[in-house]
């Protein structure tokens, strides 16, 4: 992380939304801005109060190209999305959004909450971070709203200027929320075994479940595998005591805690054609040494011994796995059986009998 001192010399700051984007309802803009300030107030002593007229510490506006007296110009759609000024008088602390972008509350276009949270980091004195997992990394990256957007790097940075919240139990950077594992709608991005453990991945976090220990251990992925970006989409354990992690068209091979050198590599090196942009889920059948990659409603089969994709694929998933008709979020093998996950459900599948044995909640592996 980086910061520009001295930051604000007070903890109570005011903000004003000067104008609105036509892309979103005013209520959605108000909510996105309020939530974006909350991201920083939960990890610092800072308190943000909205005012509706006059000069606030943090003035928030939408503009295009040359806008008002701002010395920095916008560049039309894409490119620069927004900018902000470090704490100070006048322009200091102000935040501007490029109205030529498509502002949204979701994953399409650019999520106003996420960009605002980043820009408010600047308005509080942070500069850009080189840590690709940090919210203060310069490039835009969508993070699921169920995820708390600050990484440990962001929290360390802002707390080095303002300290931690008055009621924080200790000084370590705290990430106040992570997905509620026992929530009724809990789903997972990827699941893999690792020897006797089962590792569940979601956003920035992973949970390690041991067969004889009811309490799962939660970790930040960045603590476990520092060079791997969060938001892993597929994972599996191969026949060589290694884990392969997939995100977009890249994958890493991890041996123990060590990411092998030269990774990430493109998934095309595994034999996928150029048109394949990502993998939804993957599992290696320890009994056959074959790995099945699930993409949409089809699957590909990879031979771990010859390290090559088998001919005649992809095939419809439901042909080989009757009853598994939805897109597969995650899959793993345990005691010879496959467990397929989609949303908040999972299906236990017998690959020999080729049939679903039972349906369960996704988080049935946790002591909920």
């Amino acid at each position: 992380y980086g910061f520009t001192l001295p930051g604000w010399k007070k903890n109570k700051l005011t903000y004003r939304i000067v104008n609105y984007t036509p892309d979103m309802s005013k209520e959605d803009v108000d909510k996105a801005i309020e939530e974006a300030f909350k991201v920083w107030s939960v990890v610092t002593p800072l308190i943000f109060t909205r005012i509706h007229k006059g000069i606030a510490d943090i003035m928030i506006a939408f503009g295009t190209r040359v806008h008002g007296h701002c010395p920095r110009y916008f560049d039309g759609p894409l490119g620069v999305l927004a900018h902000a000024f470090p704490p100070g008088n006048g322009l200091g602390g102000d935040v501007h959004f490029d109205e030529d972008e498509d502002w949204t509350t979701g994953s399409s276009g650019f999520n106003l909450f996420l960009v605002a949270a980043h820009e408010f980091g600047h308005a509080l004195g942070l500069s850009h971070s080189k840590d690709q997992r940090a919210l203060m990394f310069p490039n835009y990256a969508y993070i699921s709203p169920s995820e708390f957007p600050l990484s440990p790097d962001d929290i360390s940075g802002i707390q080095s200027i303002y300290g931690s919240p008055p009621n924080a139990p200790d000084e370590r950077p705290t990430t106040p929320t992570s997905p509620k594992i026992c929530g009724s709608q809990m789903s997972f991005d990827a699941i893999t075994t690792l020897r006797r453990e089962v590792i569940f991945l979601k956003g920035r976090h992973l949970w390690r479940v041991y067969p004889d220990n009811p309490e799962a251990e939660r970790e930040l992925i960045s603590v476990f595998w520092p060079n791997v970006t969060p938001g892993i989409e597929a994972a599996y354990e191969n026949t060589k005591d290694q884990i392969l992690l997939f995100k977009g068209n890249k994958f890493w091979i991890v041996s123990g805690y060590q990411v092998l050198l030269g990774y990430p590599k493109s998934i095309n090196t595994l034999g996928f054609p150029k048109g394949v942009k990502k993998v939804d889920a993957a599992v290696c059948n320890k009994n056959t040494g074959k790995t099945d990659f699930f993409i949409g409603d089809k699957y590909w089969r990879f031979d771990e011994n010859s390290q090559s994709m088998e001919k005649g694929y992809p095939r419809p998933t439901v042909n080989e796995f009757p009853g598994i008709s939805q897109r597969v979020d995650a899959v793993f093998q345990q005691k010879g059986l496959f467990y397929f996950f989609h949303g908040s459900k999972q299906w236990e599948f017998d690959p020999l009998a080729k049939k679903v044995i039972r349906e369960m909640k996704s988080n049935s592996w946790f002591n909920c």
Binding site: T4, G79, L81, H83, S127, H128, P138, N139
Partner: protein, 81 residues
Amino acid sequence: LPTHPEKDNEGDAKLVQNYLNKFYAVEPDPNQLGWKINSESGSEKLQKMQQFFGLKVTGKLDNETLEMMKKPRCGVPDVGL
């Protein structure tokens, strides 16, 4: 800026120049007497950018560097605030 011949696409060269000037030009401090003219060459700025984004630091424009420059981002400079 040293570039690969096939990379010598006019649009890309302009994009790269703008990017480096916008995010890697150390803005001179008006309070300093005899401002130090921003003498950093394009290649030095490019090395800084490649280092910041964890790319191979060559000072030469390659695909990966160009792709990174095309990604939507924040308008605040990465160095020399």
